[in-house]
């Protein structure tokens, strides 16, 4: 019996030990718009393609979760928005309870636990997104980059890519990444990586960038993105 015969149910293992629904969720991520995350010495860069036609109004993909944490995704947009709202609430509740901003690792583990819930319950399906979460921890002052998968697994990365063409993008990053990259170089490298997966020209209208450093998380403005693209 092939694995696919067990694909109908989330809560049934296949003979090879996989949960096929989660594999299929990962496929939804693989077919999503490409996104890139890169951890520089003094900050983290998140970049993603945000293709929209001339008739579309801007809808941001890079979102801020708390003062020092932001995220981006590849996969299904609506699922992402639910997770962002959840993440914001988790961060706010932590702050209310402990009187300080939630450390990035804590947010990642709590959010991953939420995603895992949806792989072990009845009547639900896994989230069709993988998240890239960028954060800055004040003590010690250091940047962090994490990936959260539909299965609830999370990984810490120095640099990674999600979505279409992610294998080539990761190979590209492996060659280009160095521990000494500053944030501006990081943005440069992330844009080059993203460009590998672009079939049209990259402009400030179809690319989104977010950066996270000791001053917090912020999205770059269209003008700032244009300047960085000009320097490529």
């Amino acid at each position: 019996m092939g694995d696919s015969h067990y694909g109908f149910s989330l809560t049934t293992f296949s003979p090879s030990g996989k949960l096929m629904q989660i594999e299929y969720a990962l496929n939804a991520v693989k077919n999503g718009q490409p996104s890139v995350g890169l951890r520089a010495k003094d900050g983290v860069v998140l970049a993603t393609e945000n293709k929209s036609s001339a008739l579309h109004e801007d809808q941001p993909k890079v979102e801020k979760i708390s003062k020092h944490i932001g995220c981006v995704y590849s996969g299904m947009g609506p699922d992402y928005r639910i997770l962002v709202k959840r993440a914001r609430k988790i961060a706010a509740e932590y702050e209310l309870m402990y009187g300080e901003e939630i450390p990035t690792t804590q947010l990642v583990t709590k959010l991953a636990a939420v995603m895992q819930e949806y792989t072990q319950s009845g009547g639900v399906r896994p989230f069709g997104v993988s998240l890239l979460i960028a954060g800055w921890d004040d003590e010690p002052g250091r940047p962090l980059l994490f990936q959260c998968d539909p299965s609830g697994a999370y990984f810490a990365w120095k640099a990674t890519a999600l979505g279409k063409n992610d294998v080539n993008a990761k190979t590209f990053l492996e060659k280009r990444f160095s521990e000494n990259l500053e944030l501006d170089d990081g943005i440069h490298t992330a844009l080059l990586t993203l460009r590998e997966s672009f079939d049209v020209g990259m402009t400030e209208d179809n690319v989104e960038i977010g950066i996270c450093n000791k001053n917090g998380f912020q999205r770059l403005t269209k003008q700032q993105i244009k300047d960085h693209l000009g320097a490529l």
């Binding site: 801020k64 702050e95 319950s121």
Partner: protein, 273 residues
Amino acid sequence: MASTLVYEQKPSMKESAFSFDNCARNMALEKLGMSGPKLRSTGTTIVAVTYKDGVVMGADSRATAGNIIADKHCEKVHKLTESIYACGAGTAADLDQVTKMLASNLQLIELNTERKARVITAVRRAKQHLFRYQGHVGAYLLIGGVDPTGPHLYEVHAHGSSCTFPFAADGSGSYAAISILERDFKFGMTQEEAEALTQRALEAGMHGDNASGNSFNLVIITKEGTVFKGPMVPDFCVKPQSNDIEYKFKPGATTVLKQKIIKYEVVESMDIE
């Protein structure tokens, strides 16, 4: 395969409505003659004044428990957002928690709507929370700030009512403070005039009310940003310097009336170093 999702447990008001059992018990005990524990109150003077470009808000810093000053430098000007502040009078613990909750809610609203939160939003959230507890959460707030629709000032009471004013005062020292405000307030003041008026009103309250005093804090909120001033100590609140005098008397200043000498025999001695 029906199973329920387990959401993260959090102390949520939705899980159970406020239980009034203890209130009934407390009232019965009081009828029997037992007095309840003294709530630490912020018997206070809080003042807020709107002017041409924004809002000036101020509060004293004395927290009392009955007749004792429990905290000389209590923080009564609470930040809700960068441009919305709340001054609180009432029960110290209730104020701390309510303002923290409001600040957290407003932060979430700002993140999710991608807009600066509005003063009226803070007021609505405060009202809806306080009304649910029927006045048992003793929080009397002056909520003021600047949002995209301009400068605003509201007064919210513990039972859940609110009103909007160009100037306001609350707390036990408000009677003194409001008289200054009623006499000297005018529309279209400059920032210096508004600051001076707030300071005079606060000093009136701190001077005349024994449950207010020690020092005061001011916050000036405008479209451009927020400036926090304090703690400032008015002259009549300055601790007096201690005056050390010499208490030495010349020998012979006191007359000797009687003299008795007792000789002791040393039986045993030991070192106690």
